[in-house]
Amino acid sequence: MPERLTVKAEITQGIVVATVGYGLEQMLQEGAAKELSRRLLEEYQRQMDEAKKAGTARTGSCVVVIKAETAGSPLVRALFELYKAVTAEGGQVICVGYPSDYIDSLTELGLPSLHGFSLAASQEAAIKTLVSA
């Protein structure tokens, strides 16, 4: 698992797939929520702009793949900010690989109950859902 905060995005089958990696330290740092939100939104917007220019954007939806063993409110805040941006584009967010030990904390905050946000077991399943939508 990465010890540094990494946010990378690419277009797969016309869908933005953002991969987020971080270590425990990133979750504990002050301002982690802002930094993670900013990086995730920037990557999403950049990929969407490029896809729109190239005409390859299928939808405004985004798959977020989490590569980490821990989670916390900074990650939930970043996902929530991304959710707001994505739904403004008429898309939906599917989160893959959310650390299983922390799923209860996520569901209690209500984010997965929002229309347009869901969890998936794998990246392939998430893309398949969005392509067939």
């Binding site: 979750m27 504990l28 002050e30 929520a33 821990t70 989670a71 916390g72 409110s73 900074p74 939930v76 805040r77 929530f80 707001k84 030990d101 922390y102 799923i103 209860d104 904390s105 569901t107 209690e108 905050l109 209500g110 984010l111 997965p112 109950s113 929002l114 946000f117 869901s118 969890l119 998936a120 077991a121 399943a125 859902t129």
Partner: protein, 254 residues
């Protein structure tokens, strides 16, 4: 009584002692009160000794009831949130949890606040506040959502401006009412279930066989119907107080 309330605190009396008294009282469905084997013939007629014993026992029973109520509500809300969550994670076709769900629902169902962006944002601000002021991330075994709100208020009470103090006080009062309503809801359901079992025993003519005290069948029916109605009614009331507490506490984060 005033001294007692001062010593215990209103929260203790409302949330623990009252449900304990009701639950202990429901033992009259099964036992004839006789304290002689416990404290001896002489003390069994002493109202102060018997009263104190009953009070301590009721408080202990109330504490256990409150722990059950809290733990049960937590289990129900987590399970309900997981069910509402659109996770396509593979699930076992048959599991003990699925079997226990109706039981969990009947004992601990409570309407959750309608989830929308503002509610998620508010709850997230509370979680961020806890992480910022508490300095810990990823505590996954914190109690119920309302307990989290109470912890948040405890942490921020020294930081809020004077205009926030009435909000803090009102949120605490609402929290007490919420706990009381939930504990009483569980107690009323337990009383209704006991009365239902007594009705079954009555139908099977086991009452005299087991040496149970005589309780009129009409009283048992009243206990069943009113117990269930009061239990589910109180959960609706508790849900309203939960929303009020959430609103008041979220207002402290702005």
């Amino acid at each position: 009584m005033k001294d007692l309330i001062d010593k215990f605190g209103l929260n203790e009396v409302l949330a623990y002692l009252c449900p304990g008294v009701f639950l202990l009282g429901s033992l009259a469905l099964w036992l004839r009160p006789d304290f002689a084997p416990l404290v001896g013939d002489k003390l069994a007629t002493n109202a102060v000794v018997v009263g104190t014993l009953l009070l301590v026992a009721a408080y202990a029973v109330g504490l256990m009831g409150a722990a059950w109520s809290g733990q049960g509500a937590r289990a129900y809300l987590r399970r309900a949130a997981r069910k509402a969550c659109k996770a396509s994670v593979p699930k076992a076709k048959f599991s003990l949890r699925a079997l226990l769900w109706p039981l969990l629902w009947s004992f601990h169902w409570i309407p959750s606040p309608c989830v929308n962006r503002s509610v998620v944002d508010g709850q997230l601000r509370i979680a961020e506040g806890l992480a910022t002021f508490g300095g810990l991330q990823g505590l996954t075994r914190l109690e119920n959502p309302w307990d989290r709100l109470a912890i948040f208020r405890t942490i921020v009470c020294g930081r809020v401006a004077s205009r926030g103090l009435p909000i803090l006080a009102e949120a605490e009062a609402v929290h007490r009412r919420l706990l009381f309503a939930l504990n009483m809801a569980l107690v009323f359901l337990l009383i209704a279930l006991q009365a239902l079992v007594r009705l079954v025993f009555y139908t099977l003519s086991w009452v005299h066989l087991l040496g149970l005290p005589d309780v009129p069948i009409g009283v048992l029916w009243v206990l069943v119907v009113l117990g269930i109605a009061a239990s589910f009614g109180l959960r609706y009331v508790a849900a309203r107080w939960w929303e009020q507490e959430l609103l008041l506490t979220c207002s402290l984060t702005r």
